[in-house]
């Protein structure tokens, strides 16, 4: 029993606390979960008249957890959805970026990215946090 509890605790501690962030100087404020979903599913690219550019992380665990907890899809389902966007001529979200590229892209106003909360930097602000 102790082993199972320890295992569950370890899994919980190892899981990333996902937050969606943007540049601190952006006019974007806290977003509803549904709006974050629509941005990442390319249902819209505007929030309150601001053109928003979502980016994807190449961190497999982080990306998987983002798909599961925020988008309510498995990573495989999101891959399939991404293929649908690309091959129907809609503007695709860029392929997954390395951490350095994510940091660089977040210098642009209104670019949003999901990160592990422990990696939050001073120049960013949280616009969505899963409870």
């Amino acid at each position: 029993m102790k082993f199972i509890v320890s295992l569950l605790l370890a899994i919980h501690l190892l899981s990333a606390q996902i937050v969606v962030v943007t540049n601190k100087n952006s006019q974007l404020n806290l977003l509803q979960k549904e709006i974050v979903q629509y941005l990442y599913l390319a249902k819209t690219d505007k929030v309150e008249s601001l053109k928003v550019k979502p980016i994807l992380s190449d961190d497999k665990n982080l990306h998987g957890e983002f798909c599961n907890t925020i988008l309510s899809k498995s990573e495989s389902e999101y891959n399939s959805y991404w293929a649908r966007l690309v091959f129907t001529g809609r503007k695709p979200i860029e392929k997954r970026l390395e951490w350095n590229e994510v940091v660089k892209k977040l210098q642009e106003l209104n670019t949003i990215a999901y990160i592990d909360k422990k990696d939050l930097r001073e120049e960013w602000k949280i616009i969505y946090e899963e409870n």
Partner: protein
Amino acid sequence: MKIKCLFYKIGIFLLTTTSVYSSEFDIKTFGTIGGVYNDNHNYIYRKDIFQKDGSSGNLSFKTDTLIGLQTSLTISEKFSLLLQGIVNNDYNDEVKPKIDWGYLKYDSGENIIFKVGRIRTPYYKNSDNLNVGYSNLMIRESVEVYGQVPFSSYNGIEAIYSNIIDRYFYTLQANYGKEELTVPIHSLNQKATVEVDDLYALNLTFGTTALQARFTYLNADITASSLSLEQLFGGLRAFGLGDLADRYEFKDTASEYMGIGLFLDYNNIIFSTECGHRKIPSFFANVHGYYATLGYSFDEFIPFITYAKSKMDVVTYKANTGVAALDALLQAQNLAQSSKTVGAKYYINENFDIKFQYEHVIPKGDYGSYHLSSGQKPQELNAFSFALDFIF
């Protein structure tokens, strides 16, 4: 030998197309290698009416195998050019490349997009990505709905407006254009030239990430002509049967398609259903149909079941107009059938998936179903299919 020919042509198509690649272009590839075995020699199992050959008591790779290329050129932040072509087995039983769609796109940046060129007709949820197997759950969509309208692209314009109201999204599509194509009438070994004029369509999709609904309406003036059709209807009028000719001739016929769909993706449960009704008051006959698919996502593995049914508004296979040639034409329009499918999709990685499915099809009435009938009994088909889909 024909399979070798198929892959040879695919190779040539790839080589010639990629040779024009430059860094200004983005080129992507998709495709499917698929096989189907239908155990009933009396029917040729096909993906749709545009295929002449398929499986009839043998393993066929012609039904689902295809390769596609998509090129895009971004001209500016707002303007881009997109082109998609595929190579597959066509209605002449030949493997040939063709342009599926291609257009100039203007993205206003204000939630409005305009397209001009050759555009996919938005009848169904998966109209746009029918050929991209990796993006679909099933090897092929239910023909009872997806097979009703015999053209999938048109030349014209499209406007798309998307926005959010509170926690709900909506997308409104409006289309206008025309199309000309050749439609085979396999059971009569004939082809008809079909002209689609004043085509306009409206499509509304709305909902949430978990639950979405869509409504589609399409209207067009359609004419189908061929030498034998002209002889038939000209002959009817010459013999004083003008009423019959007026009733069944397919000339500037005001045609409609209406469709509704409901889609759920919640807590790993996937459910989708679409109903469609084609109204073409001519020999081409009105038909309606629906499908319902239920699946469950175990991450990479998604098993599913589907039930689908199509029915003619008025039974055509018992046509008895007193004119044998007209009766034969009407009987050949019977698309009534039902099917049950069980299958699974497995995502291998970001580039590949594999799928298996078993389909039991019951044609209704003589000459029935979308699959080419010899008119012999029994009528039921068991089709076993597999596919490897890829994207790069």
